[in-house]
C-alpha cells in the first residue's frame, strides 16, 4: 500500500523532465504539415515581369522559396544573408507576400535583389495555401518539387549550415 505515497514524487519527476524539455523549445514555432508533400499549386503574376508564374516553373532542381514583403522587418534582417547565398549560386525564388508591386520593387531596388525569379502574391492567396503565418518564411524544395524543410523567421548562417545546406546537398 505504501507505493501510493510515492505517487506525488513520480508525478513531480515526470513533470520536471517535461519542463526541462519545454525550456529548450520555442512554443511559438508551428511545424508545417506540408513537409514531405509536393508544393501547393499556385498561379500568380510575376513581379516586375510579364506573364504568370506557377509551381511547374519550380520543379526540376533544388531551390529555396522565400516569402518576403517590403513591410516586414525580419526580411531586412535576413536580406544581406540572402544576397550572400545568391552570390554563391543558390537559386532563391521570392514571393512578395501581401504587398504592392511598386513597394516590393522599390524595396529590392534599395536593398538589392537576391531572387532568381519573383512572384507577386498581392492578396496573400499563395501564402495561405503554403501555410505562411509570419514572413519571412523559407521553404526548401527538392528536385521533384517536394517541400523538404521550412524555416520561419530570418534565415541566418547557422540555420543554413545545420538545416538547409545538408538537405539541398542530398538532392544534388
Amino acid at each position: 500500500m505504501r507505493w501510493r505515497y510515492l505517487l506525488p514524487i513520480a508525478v513531480l519527476a515526470g513533470l520536471t523532465v517535461l519542463f526541462a524539455f519545454g525550456l529548450q523549445q520555442d512554443p511559438r514555432l508551428v511545424p508545417s504539415p506540408l513537409i514531405g508533400k509536393p508544393m501547393p499549386a499556385f498561379d500568380q503574376a510575376r513581379l516586375g515581369a510579364e506573364g504568370r508564374a506557377t509551381q511547374a516553373d519550380l520543379v526540376g532542381r533544388p531551390l529555396l522559396v522565400n516569402f518576403w514583403a517590403s513591410w516586414c522587418a525580419g526580411c531586412q534582417v535576413e536580406h544581406p544573408f540572402l544576397m550572400q547565398l545568391a552570390s554563391q549560386g543558390v537559386e532563391i525564388v521570392g514571393i512578395d507576400y501581401k504587398d504592392t508591386d511598386e513597394a516590393g520593387l522599390a524595396w529590392l531596388g534599395r536593398h538589392g535583389n537576391p531572387f532568381r525569379s519573383l512572384v507577386a502574391d498581392r492578396e496573400g492567396v499563395a501564402g495561405l495555401d503554403w501555410g505562411v503565418y509570419g514572413v519571412p518564411e523559407t521553404f526548401v524544395i527538392d528536385a521533384r518539387g517536394v517541400i523538404v524543410y521550412k524555416h520561419v523567421g530570418p534565415l541566418d548562417e547557422r540555420v543554413w549550415r545545420e538545416q538547409i545546406r545538408p538537405r539541398l546537398q542530398e538532392q544534388s
Partner: protein, 144 residues
C-alpha cells in the same frame, strides 16, 4: 497573474477584432468556427478575438467558404492541411489525443473507485487518539 502582452503585433491583437462584415445566413456557424480556430501569430487567441492581419485573412477565408456552401468539416480540413492541428482549439480525437480526451474521465473513475472503497471498508478497530470532538460537541450542545 499580471497580464502583459508581448511581441510584435500584439498591441493590435489585443484589440477586438472588429469588422463590419455584413451579416449573412451563416452567422451562427461563422461565429462558432472563428471562435474555435487559433490565430497562429498571436500568443493565444482565436481568430475571432485577434485583429492580426493573418486572423483577418483567415476570417475572410472562413466567410468565403461558408458562402460557397462548404461544410464545417471541410473548412477545418482546409485549414489543417495548411497549418496542422495547431490551428484547432478543439483537438481532434486521434491516437495522439486520446489521453487528453479520456484521461480526466478515466482518472475520475479511478478516484471514485478508490474513494468508494475507502468509504465502504473503513476499519472500525482503532480507537481515536483524540476524544471524539463530535461526541463532545453533542454533549455540550445537548440543550439545543
Amino acid at each position: 497573474m499580471l497580464r502583459i502582452l508581448l511581441l510584435c503585433g500584439l498591441w493590435l491583437a489585443a484589440q477586438p477584432a472588429l469588422s463590419a462584415e455584413a451579416a449573412t445566413a451563416h452567422d451562427e456557424r461563422y461565429q462558432y468556427l472563428v471562435n474555435e480556430l487559433r490565430c497562429l501569430v498571436c500568443q493565444n487567441q482565436s481568430i475571432a478575438e485577434s485583429n492580426a492581419p493573418l486572423a483577418q485573412d483567415l476570417r475572410a477565408q472562413v466567410r468565403r467558404q461558408l458562402d460557397e456552401g462548404r461544410s464545417d468539416a471541410e473548412i477545418r480540413d482546409y485549414l489543417t492541411a495548411r497549418y496542422g492541428d495547431f490551428v484547432l482549439y478543439r483537438p481532434p480525437f486521434k491516437a495522439a489525443t486520446w489521453l487528453l480526451w479520456l484521461g480526466p474521465f478515466a482518472l475520475l473513475a479511478v478516484a471514485l473507485a478508490v474513494a468508494l472503497r475507502l468509504l465502504r471498508s473503513r476499519p472500525k478497530a482503532a480507537p481515536p487518539a483524540m476524544p471524539d470532538p463530535e461526541q463532545l460537541r453533542r454533549i455540550l450542545d445537548k440543550d439545543t
